[in-house]
Every structure is written in structure tokens, then in C-alpha cells.
């Protein structure tokens, strides 16, 4: 700790930070633009000028940029100094020279950092009287608007997009007062994190385009803390809604997970909640047509179904824990399926047990950023877990931080650190079949089919720990690769192994865990991270249940009378013949979902469920973090949370049906609210006992009040609805949360982190208000941790370490002359289910194609191949350099929704090159 004097006040602060951070942490209002806590300092905007005095006798002092000046013991600074104030006011005035002052029509208005900073400096009169410079704006694709005239040239956008996120198609163009931040020509911003520009940009240059289409002011929206549902990482978000419609999604800072950035799939994937594919009412199949019916009739219909025989429930890895648990309670464990195939379930359960028993650390995303050697084994994390890939990209910079430390250059001195580190090596190794977006951050990339990648992994583990089994038939080249990677990992203080389920290969996951375990023998911080596909894959793996194959078996045997499917599109797991078979074999199908998925017209009963924006529930991320999401929207009846539908079904059961069901201890019909569900879940399945602490319960009160979910500035609710009716409506309520749905209630920066509905503080109306909610800049929130981790680091100490079963080391892959190995090509946009119902994401999804090795003999423009269950498929060909021989990459869930990989296929050229059409 160091102490410094700020305008006469003694402040105590951390060493090794800069004066801007120190002033902000001391609670002072010091304006800034170019500095960003995650991007560091570059000294471009000159806005954070303060006076620094060299000693007790120095009366004049010197203007310095707070962001570029390290805080030192005893230093004396002044924000209020007249000269410094005049300069800061001048800086705003210069920025305003070409700014259009179009706040009333600017989407950023009301949450604009530039507005806040302008007010903060006191600048209020414009003296510049000449013509303003104007720019032409660009079409940047479906995610972002571009309005360059508002630009104040703080350089944050390019520093985030290029330096931090690795994007290549946004640049500073032009010079002097004509600098232009854009692409070389109009076109979609390609980087997976482009949407963050809407939050990174301190004014209205880059704004959320889908939000603009149904624009509303920030203060008229309700906010709710939420969790992203588009992959297994578990990024924290804010959902903003007005008129019971979700308008946008923002990043919600969680110091251990997503911190300051979301991926574009997460930010723009929420469109499915407003999509026409939403279900609004119960539907009964009547004369082969789904027909709307009242809830009561639907329940009566269900009661009649029970006579047909046993009820089986199919849950889902994209449904909340509560939805899955309620279903398990209704049907009993023996009739409860995870909704995954055996392959999916084996991988997920393997991942869970390996993480649970990992003797090293299970790193958070933030931990990963400081890993000093990383091996990504057989997973394209940039598509399956994009935010994780962004964390690994930062890990690749570890050596430049070490070089900066050695040079005594503070790590926040961004430009200097990047210069010093410009030729240091990355500590990232990637082994995948195909090129990934993360490759350019890697020190070395290795192309290998999953089996060979697993073999390489086992070989690395053997190198590190000779007691681990050796890999037979390793080529000298592979042995050398294994040796090189093992050496780098073994020398690291904080090594990290990342793998996942993308290729459905248990061997890959085992190999990754073996390496991490070998490392953990000498390096307690050795981390293991296993990527899972869905937002509650880990929850499902922990809960357990039958695979879909068992359900199919029972269906074929006529042992299923009624099938209740909760939030699961079975066509993504079973191929068309299996679906036909299932529909024929099961007399009654009840589908509970928010969206009309593939089978909705075949279901005898469809019940409209709330989407994640409309109820409170819990998801468990791939690192075992249980996180609660809350409703921003109060859906019109009869839409309700899936668990409430299941509860209604339970209530509808005729008493005579009870014996047919497996006995269960929990009386689900007695549940009053979410807390009752959570209590029962913790009792029934003890590993979930902790999730009750993921967020305070519905009875929580702050200063005796509920928590508000709107700002104090919200237009009156009669005004908001005045275009419909001026009659006052009572604000909606929700029994599951401690939130009021209105502006009435408590709100303060140290409120529980899991319950913060938005970031706002006096004088700070933009997302930058976050600094008031943090214990320290970049550190934990003042309200503690949001969510709770169910998997502990170093779970099993030395000596306790359970022996891993002997691994199934696959034989080396040999390319075949007549067939290719088809591997799933997971796409950032296109493969994930829910985001593909969101129009902006659909617009970004590239058309399906078949990717083949460039050095192969294929010269055809299109290839036809036969997929079992789907028949012949014809796809355009894209040749990819460096693909291993004998494989082809087929887009996952795009060509064949349930196509399980890997499998062999025979390819036929259909159209030769130059064939044209």
C-alpha cells in the first residue's frame, strides 16, 4: 500500500497502479476517455490531466496525465487545481470542435460517457464557430451502427478490436483532425467481439444496431442480472427490456468470468426471445393440427394421457437446473433422461468427474488470462467458447508482461508493454484438426485429427510423468512435438490445459486431464479447463440421467406412454429415422419450450415456457459455477417457467396415476417459489446444496426494501404506456426474486453482486459507472461474488489422488483412399441452437460448406456425400490449407441437425471447377 495526497486528503491505495486508477478508487471524479481498465493507458486523450507537486515546497506543480503517471508514496496531486481544471475543460472543448452535439437523436444519449465527462469538466459553452469536419459512415454489418461524426478519437475502438481481441478489419485511417476509425471499405466487422465496441466506445460512434431498431432510452428500460445461454462459459449479462420486450443485452462485469467483454453470439443471440417462433399459448393436437387451448383443457388433456402408460421425461442441457430437476421429480430418476445421446453424455460426465477430481486448479477465465503456458488440445474454443478464447489470447501475452516487469515498466503502460513484448514468444500451443481464429495468438499450431491429437496428448502426459502410459507407434515427428510442448508446459508456473467436447472424443478429454494431472504433481496451479457445449451442460452432467438411446429402447419396447420433453429439440440429437420411430412408438408427447422447435407440430400437447429473460433460474457453467439469472420481462399468462409447467402437470395427475410413477420424496405441488425448488434440489441431490447461495433469496431486502430494476429517471409508467392507455396499471410482480419491477426500491453500489440490475452512479450514467461498484479497478465487485463455484480447486490433495482408469489410447489415424473422416466444424455463428433464431446472428452465419484439405486432389466446386439418416447432401467446397489428409469438415448442426461425429463418408464430386452453375 502507498499513501498519496489528493487535494489535501490523505488516501491510501495500492502500489503499482496509476494516478487515474488511484483517484477513481479514492472515489474522486476525474474524467478520462482513452484509458480503459482492461486496455491500460496510452495517454492519447489528455483528459485526465491533474496537477502533481514535486515536494512539500512546490507551489506551482506540473500538469501530468494521471493515467500515465505511477502513484508513488507521498506524492501530492490536485484535481481541483485551477490550471488543471481549465486544461480538462479545454480538452473537452477541443473534442467538441467536430462533435455534432446531436445528443437528442443519438442512441448513446443518457448513457454516454462523453456527456458525463463533459458535465464533469464543466465545459458548457461552445466557442468554436467554424465549419465542422464531417465523415462518411460505413455499413459495418448487422451488429453495429457507425456514426463517425460523433468520434472524439480516443482510439479505444482499435485498441480493443485489434490489440485486445485480435481483429484485423478495423483501423485508424487518415491523420490530423481527419482520423477515421473504420474498415478499409464498407462491410461486416469480422471479429467475434465486435459488439463490445458499443460499450467500449465512450460516445455514439459504435452503437448496438438491433437495439436501434426498437430503440428506447436507457432510463426507460428495466434491467435484470442475467447469464448468457449461448455456450457453456457462463458470461454474466444484463438484460434490458421495455414494454415486456427485450431490447438489448449488455456485459455484466464478473471479475472472474467475462470481466469487460462478451462475444457477439452472446450479445446478439437473445433475439430468439422476441422471435415469431415463440410459443404463447398451450396447444393441443386436434385433427393433426396444433390448436390453441386454455391451460385448464391442456391439463385435462394431460390427465387423460396418463392412462397410456409410464411417463418418461427428457430434460435438456439448455434448460435451467430447476426445469430439469422439477421434471426429474415428476417422472422419477429411472424415467429421467438428460436429453443427450450416449456419446454426448459420456463426454460431459467424463469432463465433470475429471474436473471434480483434478488435483490442480480449475481456472476461472480470469485465471486463464495469466496462465504462462497453455495447450489447447482438440477444441476450437474460438467457436465453442469464444469468451474463453479471448482469455487465452491474453494468456498468450504473458511473456510480454514478464519482459515489462523485468524492464520495470508498469503493466498498465499498454503501448510500452506491447513494444517491449513485440518480439517475445507467445506461450500458447494449439492442437486442432483445422485452423482456428485463436491460431494467430499461438506460438505454435499443430494440425491433427482428434485421435492423433489425443495420442499427442497422452504422449505429452507420458513425457511429464513417466508413470503415465506410453503411446505406442508414435512417429519421431510426433515424439518431438510432444517433447517440445511438454518442456514448455513443464517449465511453466501456471500451465493450463484446455480441451472439450467438440469432437465427441472421450480420449481427447482424458488425454487433456492426464497432462494436467501430471503437471499438478509439481505445479499445484496446473489448470484444467474442459469446454462444454451448452449453458447447463455441466448442470446436466452433475445431475445425471438416462441417455436418449435408453429412451429409444424403451419407446421401441412400447414402455413409454407419455414423453415429456422440456426445452429440448430432439432433432439435434436423434436423426430423422429415429425421430419417426420415436413419434410412432410413443402415444403422447408433451413439449414444454419457449420456442416452437422442430417437433412442435407433432406434440400432442405444447406448453409455452418462459425464456431466460422472463423467469429466475440457475445454470451451471463449465467451470462448475452456479449462477442465477433474473427476469427483465414479465410474460403474459399463460407463459411461465418450465418448472411451473411441470408443477402444473404434477397437480393435474389423477390420484390413480401416482403408483405408476416412481416414488419420490419431494412434493413438487407444494412449491411456492424458486427458493422452495432450490431447497428441495439441495436436499434431493446434495452436490447442488450450494446453489442456494448463488444469489440471495426472494425474501432478501436491502434497507428494508425490494431492489429496483429501473432507474430513478424512468418515465412514469402511465407515460410509457400512454400510447395504449393512460390508465395506471399496477407494476407486475414475481414471487421468485427480491426485485420490484419498477423504479421503486433500493439500489446501491455495494448491493449483492448477483442482484445488480445495471451500473449507475451519480455523475456516471454510462457503463463506465462500473468503477463505482468495484472494490478496486478490475477487482471484485463491492457486493461480493455473483454465483458460487461447486467445484473446488485442488479437490483431492496428494495421496488422495484417485488413480485414473487406464486410458483407451486410440490407434493412429490412417487416411483412407475411398472415404474421408467427417469432423464437425463448429461455427461461431450457425451451430448454436438458440442464437440461430436471432435475426442479426442468422445474418452473420455463413452458408454451410464442406472444407477439404487444400493439398488434396479435389478440384470440384461441389461435393456430394451420403449421411446416414439424412441421405445425400451436396455442399460447396472450401479448400483449407494445412488440413490433415483424409478428413473433411462438415458444419455442425447446420447440414444435419443431429449428425453425430465423427464418421466416415464417401465424397463424390458433383460439379467440376469452372462448371459455373
Amino acid at each position: 500500500m502507498v499513501t498519496f495526497q489528493l487535494d489535501g486528503l490523505q488516501c491510501s491505495t495500492r502500489a503499482d497502479i496509476n494516478l487515474l486508477q488511484a483517484c477513481l478508487e479514492a472515489g474522486a471524479n476525474l474524467p478520462y476517455f482513452c484509458w480503459h481498465p482492461e486496455l491500460g493507458s496510452v495517454g492519447a486523450c489528455r483528459q485526465c490531466a491533474i496537477k502533481q507537486f514535486s515536494g512539500p515546497d512546490d507551489k506551482t506543480g506540473r500538469i501530468v496525465m494521471a493515467c500515465m503517471t505511477p502513484v508513488t508514496e507521498g506524492t501530492r496531486v490536485s484535481i481541483d487545481d485551477a490550471e488543471a481544471k481549465e486544461f480538462r475543460e479545454g480538452v473537452i472543448e477541443w473534442m467538441m470542435v467536430n462533435h455534432p452535439h446531436d445528443c437528442p437523436v443519438c442512441p448513446e444519449g443518457g448513457e454516454c460517457h462523453l456527456q458525463d465527462m463533459t458535465v464533469m469538466t464543466g465545459h458548457n459553452t461552445r466557442r468554436y464557430r467554424f465549419t465542422k469536419r464531417t465523415h462518411r459512415n460505413q455499413d459495418l454489418g448487422p451488429f453495429l451502427n457507425h456514426e463517425m461524426n460523433r468520434c472524439i478519437a480516443c482510439y479505444r475502438c482499435v485498441r480493443f478490436y485489434k490489440d485486445y481481441a485480435g481483429g484485423e478489419d478495423l483501423a485508424v485511417l487518415g491523420a490530423h483532425d481527419n482520423v477515421y476509425f473504420g474498415r478499409s471499405e464498407d462491410g461486416t466487422l469480422e471479429n467475434a467481439f465486435s459488439g463490445n465496441l458499443a460499450e467500449i466506445c465512450p460516445t455514439g460512434v459504435f452503437t448496438d444496431k438491433p437495439f436501434s431498431e426498437t430503440y428506447t432510452r436507457k432510463w426507460d428500460m428495466r434491467g435484470a442480472p442475467s447469464v448468457c445461454v449461448h455456450c457453456g462459459v457462463g458470461c454474466n449479462t444484463f438484460v434490458n427490456a421495455r414494454d415486456e420486450k427485450v431490447r438489448r443485452l449488455l456485459n455484466r462485469y464478473n471479475d472472474e468470468v467475462n470481466r469487460y467483454a462478451l462475444c457477439d453470439r452472446g450479445r446478439f443471440g437473445h433475439g430468439f426471445v422476441n422471435a415469431p417462433s415463440r410459443l404463447h399459448t398451450p396447444l393441443c393436437l386436434s385433427e393433426e393440427q396444433p390448436t390453441p387451448v386454455p391451460t385448464q383443457s391442456a391439463m385435462a388433456q394431460f390427465a387423460r394421457m396418463v392412462a397410456s402408460g409410464p411417463i418418461v421425461g427428457i430434460a435438456s442441457s439448455r434448460a435451467s437446473l430447476e426445469a430439469c430437476f422439477s421434471l426429474q421429480c415428476l417422472v422419477g430418476r429411472e424415467q429421467f433422461s438428460t436429453g443427450q445421446t450416449q456419446q454426448e453424455q459420456t463426454c460431459a460426465e467424463l469432463a465433470y468427474t475429471l474436473l471434480r477430481d483434478h488435483p490442480g486448479s480449475i481456472p476461472t477465465l480470469h485465471d486463464m488470462e495469466s496462465a504462462d503456458a497453455v495447450l489447447v488440445l482438440g477444441e476450437d474454443v474460438s467457436a465453442t467458447a469464444p469468451r474463453l478464447a479471448l482469455a487465452l489470447r491474453q494468456a498468450g501475452r504473458q511473456n510480454s508482461f514478464l519482459a515489462a516487469d523485468a524492464a520495470k515498466v508498469p503493466r498498465w503502460m499498454d503501448a510500452a508493454v506491447r513494444t517491449i513484448g513485440s518480439e517475445t514468444l507467445s506461450s500458447l500451443f494449439i492442437v486442432t484438426p483445422a485452423p482456428t481464429d485463436l491460431d494467430k495468438s499461438a506460438e505454435e499450431t499443430f494440425r491433427a485429427v482428434p485421435d492423433n491429437a489425443a495420442r499427442l496428448g497422452f504422449a505429452i502426459a507420458h513425457q511429464l510423468d513417466p508413470t503415465a502410459p506410453a503411446v505406442p507407434d508414435l512417429t519421431p515427428f510426433e515424439a518431438e512435438q510432444a517433447n517440445r510442448i511438454a518442456t514448455a508446459l513443464g517449465a511453466a508456473k501456471k500451465p493450463l490445459i484446455v480441451s472439450g467436447m467438440q469432437y465427441g472424443s472421450p480420449a481427447l478429454i482424458q488425454a487433456a486431464a492426464r497432462i494436467a494431472r501430471s503437471l499438478a504433481q509439481n505445479t499445484p496451479d496446473a489448470g484444467l479447463s474442459l469446454v462444454m457445449p451448452d449453458c447447463n451442460s455441466m448442470g446436466m452432467a452433475m445431475m445425471g440421467g438416462l441417455p436418449l438411446e435408453t429412451v429409444m429402447m424403451r419407446a421401441r419396447a412400447g414402455a413409454i406412454g407419455t414423453l415429456i420433453i422440456v426445452e429440448n429439440d430432439l432433432t439435434r440429437h436423434l436423426d430423422p429415422p429415429e425421430i419417426v420411430e420415436l413419434l410412432e412408438a410413443v402415444p403422447n408427447i408433451v413439449l414444454i419450450d419457449h420456442t416452437a422447435t422442430a417437433l412442435w407440430q407433432n406434440a400432442n400437447l405444447v406448453l409455452p415456457a418462459a425464456a431466460f429473460t422472463e423467469y429466475a433460474g440457475t445454470l451451471i457453467s463449465q467451470e462448475g459455477r452456479a449462477q442465477r439469472f433474473f427476469p427483465a420481462v414479465f410474460p403474459l399468462s399463460p407463459i411461465q417457467a418450465s418448472w411451473r409447467w411441470v408443477q402444473e402437470l404434477a397437480r393435474a395427475l389423477p390420484p390413480s396415476a401416482e403408483p405408476q410413477l416412481a416414488p419420490h420424496r419431494t412434493d413438487i405441488t407444494a412449491w411456492q417459489n424458486l427458493d422452495d425448488v432450490l431447497a428441495a434440489l439441495g436436499t434431493e441431490i446434495p452436490i447442488f446444496a450450494g446453489i442456494i447461495k448463488a444469489a440471495p433469496d426472494a425474501a432478501y431486502r436491502l434497507n428494508g426494501q425490494k431492489l429496483r430494476s429501473q432507474t430513478y429517471r424512468a418515465s412514469g409508467r402511465t407515460v410509457i404506456r400512454s400510447y395504449i392507455s393512460v390508465r395506471d396499471q399496477p407494476p407486475p410482480t414475481n414471487p421468485d426474486t427480491p426485485f420490484s419491477s419498477s423504479m421503486e426500491g433500493a439500489y446501491q453500489p455495494d448491493m449483492p453482486a448477483a442482484l445488480v440490475p445495471s451500473f449507475h452512479a451519480p455523475a456516471w450514467n454510462s457503463v463506465q459507472a462500473l468503477n463505482r461498484f468495484q472494490q478496486e479497478i478490475g477487482g471484485p465487485l463491492r457486493g461480493g461474488e455473483a454465483g458460487i463455484r461447486l467445484l473446488a480447486n485442488h479437490a483431492l490433495k496428494n495421496g488422495q489422488t484417485e488413480q485414473l482408469p487406464a486410458p483407451d489410447i486410440p490407434p493412429p489415424f490412417t487416411p483412407q483412399s475411398d472415404t474421408v473422416l467427417l469432423l464437425p466444424d463448429v461455427r461461431l455463428f450457425g451451430s448454436e441452437e438458440l442464437s440461430m433464431l436471432s435475426p442479426p446472428v442468422v445474418a452473420r452465419a455463413p452458408p454451410a460448406n464442406l472444407r477439404l484439405p487444400a493439398h488434396g486432389t479435389a478440384t470440384a466446386s461441389h461435393i456430394t456425400f451420403h449421411l446416414e439418416g439424412y441421405g445425400p447432401q451436396t455442399l460447396p467446397v472450401q479448400l483449407v490449407a494445412d488440413l490433415p489428409d483424409g478428413i473433411a469438415l462438415c458444419p455442425a448442426h447446420m447440414v444435419a441437425p443431429a449428425f453425430s461425429f465423427p464418421r466416415l463418408a464417401r465424397l463424390t464430386a458433383t460439379r467440376a471447377e469452372g462448371d459455373g452453375s
Binding site: 491523420a175 483532425d177 517491449i420
Partner: protein, 431 residues
Amino acid sequence: MTAATHPLTAMITPAAPPPDCAAYEQAGGWQAARKALKILAPAEVIDMVTRSKLRGRGGAGFATGQKWSFVPKNAASERRKYLVANADEMEPGTFKDRWLLEGNPLQLVEGMILAAYAIQAGHGIVFLRGEYHLPRKRLTDAIEEARQKGWLGENILGSGFSFDIHLHSSAGRYICGEETALITALEGKRATPRSKPPFPQFSGLWGASTVVNNVETLCNLPHIVTNGPEWFLSLGMGADGGTKLYGVSGRVRRPGAWELPIGTPLRQIIEDHAGGMLPGYSLRALLPGGASTAFLDESALDVAMDYGSVEKAGSRLGTGTAIILDDRTCPIGMILNLEHFFAQESCGWCTPCRDGLPWVERLLGALEEGTGESEDLEELARHARMLGTPGRTFCAHAPGAMAPLASGLKLFADDFSAHISQRGCPLRHAA
């Protein structure tokens, strides 16, 4: 002209091609390189240069020996280091380095060998102004010849020291003359200055140790090493050592550049060497060291043109090339022209410079056009004050740009008021 009095230019014959290696050697060249590589240790070369009190001739006047002393001492073979010759001569009114580049490029090559040996840099780069076509040709030839004769390349003179020079022609931005922007440009990035620390001597080009020296600075080295620091010191007229290339432009009889003892009085340069003012013109004021130095008026003509004296007089020696303002040219028009240049050449990185300089330019333009308002003078003064102090802007570009404005506002106060009261430039009206 002899090498004893005019070491930098003695070998230069106007309108003749520069000396080749043989002619250069015959006239006394390569002695210093031979002496340094065969007899002197790198530290001894640094010591000689330090004792000579040679100061950077690019404008900032930083002591060359001291600049080198911050470079890590590892041998060139152990650590990647760069020596860069700053030949990006773009300051308006400055044309001194061009003389050296065109007239005797081998002198620069030898100077670079000496500097590189002193700091143990294995790689040399000449960063040349893009428009300098003839210098590019002559430098290319000189470097190639030196390489063929073994003065560049592996193991020069069997000393174990290896060094080669790469010539880079700039894409053309004034800011590239700023050493950190120059380095950034060499890396293929936007020419934007970098913050110091870390200083280039520690983390420069691609993160490696780098020294950037002006062409004229480097050209002094062979003579210091050959003749010794005491001889060099004795060449100067005042506290500084050596000779200096001085230049004069404007309405004088013989505009040009001359090598004179550093500290030669300004009056002597203008009257004796530039031949005084053209008939019908008298001297109103002048910028003593190029466009980014403050105006001096007639009362300062007896100032000695060395670093300390010019600073005491209220300006800077800068590049030593004076621009004369005569009595028939509008001072506001001249300042407008300068500020137009500076506004256009701002790199756009920091706010005050990027958006302040164009505002200044437009205010001056309004005065010239006759749309100036009385508050404009206050606005100009505010800009001069806010942008003029180093440390407020990212680099020295804006403070340099403010030097002629701030001094001009005082010196030409009547002209400024006249532009407002007469709604335009009185001189233009008169014409």
C-alpha cells in the same frame, strides 16, 4: 575551406558528384573508423564524444555522448541494437542535412559506423525524407560502395564488429522526424509518437535498444574521433563545440547554408553570409532555428547562434536555419502558413494537438479573410498557452507549433489588431 575549419563540408564541391571511397579516403576519410575499430574501445568512443560536448543537431540539442550512455553495454553480437540516422529533414525552412547527404554521403556512413561501434549496434538504418530523391540515389551508391570495400558487413577490418546499413525512404509525414514516431513508422505502423519511458535506448525499434541521431550529428563523429574532442571544442565560438550548418531563407540577397563555428552571431550570418536583405526590404523579425522556434526581432540580431544564447534570447537554436520575415510580408499570413503546416502534420493521436491546431489555423484564416473577431486574439492566446507547455500534449509537435504563434502574438500585436479593425490583411488591402 579546409577540413580544419570546415570539417563537415570541406570535401563537398558544389555541382560535382560526391567523393567515392578512394577520394574520400584521400581527403582524410576512413581514418576515424580505422582508428576506432582498431585501437579504441566502444567506451572510449563514447567518452571522446561526451568530452567534445557534441549536441544533437536535429533541433533538441541533447548531448550525444549522454544519449549513447543509456544504451545497454552488451556487445553487438550479444544483443540486437539499432542505430538510426534521422534524415527525415522536413522542418519548413530547413535544408542543411540535404547538403551533407548529397555532397558527402560516405561521411554519414563513416559517422554511422562510429556511432554504431560506440553503442555496439549491429544494424543501421537511414530514415530518409521521401522527397529526397538525389540523396537517396547517392546514399544507395555510397552504402553499396562502402559494403564492397568492406566498410560495412561482417567483421569490419577484422575487428570482430559487424554492421550494415539499410536505407528507408519515408512515406512522408513531418512527425516521422520525432524519434519515437520514426521508430514506430519503421515498424510499419502509423507514425505516432510513443511515450517515454521506456526510452528508445532501452526499448526502441521492435522492442530492441535503438539510438536515433540526426545526420549532421553523425557527420561530426569522424572528425571528433580523428582530431580529438579538444580540437572539436576549440572550433566553437562559445560554450558549444564544433561547427554548425547555418541557413537563411527569406528575402535576403543570398539565401543558403554555410558551415560556421557554432556560436557565430546571427547578424554575421545574415549580413555577411546571406548578404543582407534584398533592396527595398528590411528585416522585421525572424525564426532563428526553423518553423518551430519563436520569433526574434531586430533587437536580438547580435545573439550568438549557440544553444544557450538563443534560448536566453527567448527562442531556440533548433536546426540553425533561420527564416526571415521582411517588412512587406504579413506576419499573420506567415504564421497562418506555419500553423496550416503544423495542423496538417499533426498525427492525430492526442486531442489538444489534433483539434487545437486546426482551430488556430481557422482563427488565423479568419483574421486574414477579414472575418476575425476581437475575442479571437484571446482564443489564440489561450491556445498558445494551453498547447505551448510541454507535457500537456503527447509530444513536442504542438508546443513547437505554438512557439511562432505565442511570440508572434506579442511581437505583432498591432498587426493582429489591425486585421480585426480593418477587417482583413492591411498589406493585402494595400497591394
